[in-house]
């Protein structure tokens, strides 16, 4: 679904990504993990064409990502960010309807899809008539996910989607996401700094440090065979045992 070839990205003196080569297959769920400022969010923005690499090439579904096709690429990808990014001047329903309306969907089709997703996200239908500021943090993130899924894109990029939520809501949503990832069969890239969350939701973990891939493998690999001293310390700092780990 996605491939990055020798990608480098600098912000002035700061190196966000340094010669990174990665591939993400269709239908896989991967977590990008790393400490703050390690370049993991940059990776998602590059895939969406919101930023452009200094060096290297990116392919989405085999197509070389270029400015001319960035809108088409963005429509193949659902994107969810930490703060939800819901537009406060629009109701939930209108937030959901933004892209479908532009694509010429009928009102009935939009409403049917909205109701379908509300059920999927276990939200009451009354939520659709509310404004984002009238929702709880957890509800807002569910709506953000609904918006990302509206046109049923093949890929889902999530940047710390649960980062701002309290632990109970967070755990509940983690459960929901896990079920969704299994049932929806989408290519998912999840950025998080929480290794436990990554291990719980993703089958593959890419640990990024100082713009480079420190280790790329399963949770068990990271715990049992850390590639270097940084990985060992990062894993130890999380104080969590992965499912199935001894």
């Amino acid at each position: 679904m996605f491939s990055l070839e020798q990608i480098s990205k600098h912000y002035g003196e700061v190196v966000a990504l340094d010669d990174v080569t990665l591939g993400f297959g269709v239908g896989t769920v991967s977590a990008i993990v790393g400490s703050s400022g390690s370049g993991k969010s940059t990776l998602l923005r590059l895939l969406l064409g919101l930023q452009w690499p200094d060096h290297g090439r990116i392919r989405v579904e085999g197509q070389l990502l270029e400015r001319s096709i960035r809108l088409a690429i963005r429509r193949r990808i659902g994107y969810v960010i930490q703060e939800g990014g819901l537009f406060p001047h629009l109701t939930v329903r209108d937030n959901l309807a933004l892209l479908p309306r532009h694509l010429g969907w009928s009102r009935e089709r939009i409403d049917a899809r909205a109701h379908e997703l509300a059920a999927l996200m276990e939200l009451p239908e009354s939520v659709l008539r509310r404004y984002p500021t009238e929702l709880s943090g957890g509800q807002q993130q569910r709506v953000a996910l609904m918006r990302a899924l509206m046109t049923d894109p093949p890929a889902l990029l999530m940047d710390e989607p649960l980062g701002a939520l309290d632990p109970l809501v967070r755990a509940e949503l983690q459960e929901r996401l896990q079920q969704l990832f299994v049932s929806l069969r989408k290519t998912v890239l999840l950025v998080t700094h929480d290794l436990g969350e990554a291990a719980f939701l993703a089958s593959r973990i890419v640990l990024i440090h100082d713009g480079r891939v420190a280790q790329d493998g399963s949770a068990a690999d990271l715990y049992q065979r850390p590639a270097d001293e940084f990985v060992r310390r990062f894993v130890a700092a999380q104080r969590i045992r992965p499912a199935g780990a001894p």
Binding site: L71, E83, L90, H102
Partner: protein, 566 residues
Amino acid sequence: MSSCADSSPHSAFGRPARLDAVPSLIRHLCTLRLRRTRRGRALVLGSLALTLALSPLAGSAADAAGRPARVGSKNFTESVILAELLRLDAERHELTLQHERALGGSAILWRALLEGSIDVYPEYVGTLTQELLHGLPQPVMERELTRALYARGLAASAPLGFEDRYALGVPEALAARLRLRTISDLSAHPELRYALSNEFMNRADGWPGLLRTYGLAPRTLRGMEHTLAYRALAAGAADVVDLYTTDPEIEAYHISVLADDRHYFPSYQAVWLYRLDAAARWPALLPTFDDLAGHISEPAMRRMNAAAQLEQRDETAVAAAFLAQLHLASSTAAHGAATTVPGGRESAAATEAGESSAIAITHQLAARTREHLALVGISLALALMVGLPLGIAAAKLPTFGRFVLAVSVVLQTVPTLAMLVFMIPLFGIGATPAIATLFLYSLLPIVRNTLTGLTTIPAPLQESAASLGLPEHVRLLRIELPLAARTIVAGISTAAVINVGTATLGALIGAGGYGEPILTGIRLNNLPLILAGAVPAALLALLVMGLFQLLERWLTPRGLRASHEG
């Protein structure tokens, strides 16, 4: 005799303190006034200045022993030069005069003289008979004038030799072509365009009477600021202006002064107006008056005005040069009675002095409102059509944005009066140049707020908007502009309110509106007249602000309101 200035419609000039209550709009206007307001009565600014100027001057002449005699002057060049002439000449008589320079308009000087804050100042007989001694039966005879002054402890000297009268002027070329020599000749040419000073149009001894006396029926008639009227004439935007017979512009702009063949305009002989107790206390004053009496001719005065105004020479130097020539050329003529006063000329219009009052103002209010709304509405609509796209472009293209913002800031710093002057050669006079000016002033708030509104959308929202895959124009219309709407409407509202205020200055170039009574009122120090323009303007500003608040409320969806309240 007690029916003097205090009971006249202009009684407010006697109480400068009350003028503090005048809305700041008017004070703003005052700071923009031109250097010369000539025979106009006190300016509001002048009265404020006088309050300050007089505060250190303790009490009346009687109790201030040993202080020098004081000569005052009005706030225009001619008056300052005359006062300097008197001061310099007094030195020849070993009399030291202190010159209180450019205090304000006639009303201010008159008041200062009555209170003993000054002892003498140059005045025009017409101003005395038509304005300052308002209660006198018309026509004012010499004997009555002397008596009226005497009752106040004042007297007037022999005439200085020149008159500073109102007159009408046309460009010399036009005069030659149409064979215009007298004002009567104008009645055959109703197609000529008149640009008259607002004060002249409203004075009892000005336009209304002139119209009747000569049966003029011009098709185009505009009220303007006096100096700007000259500019309009020079630019070919007007054919006939009113003028003062000692204006240096008459020669500078090659203007032909039309003869007042029906003797309509009252006499405006220049005299020294002084306190009788001062003449007793400083005996050298009267011989000094005699030195100058009859020696300052109209051309001589015009030359001195030109030297000071057009050549920018110092008034003292101008006065000194004139005195040197005078004393070189002649021995002083021994003039007789210093209290001789030329008779006030009969003036039909003067009897209707109080006419231009409440009724006329009420009748004009609707027209003024229409004019004002047109100025504000049209300029604002144009500014929206240009400012919004500019603001959007500025937000999308940072380099262009900085350029646009810099230009609108620079435009904002151009003083209104200067802007109006620039507009005359481009658009002539009337509403068009005023609308152009207001349009330019409206750009900054609209462009800046559009730019600010669009660029301060929170980063997560910008990122979400971008990631959806919507084309640029859809993002702009459905997401960015609605999110920026509050800020943009606030900018439009600012522009509109500023426009309501600034549009009052349109009256300077004949655009009409609420500015006409305000400007005239300021020149005549007529508070009711000022308020007749200022109050509706203030109300309109409040109304506009209220409407925009409603609009903002209506434009702001529930979601945004909640986010701002929560």
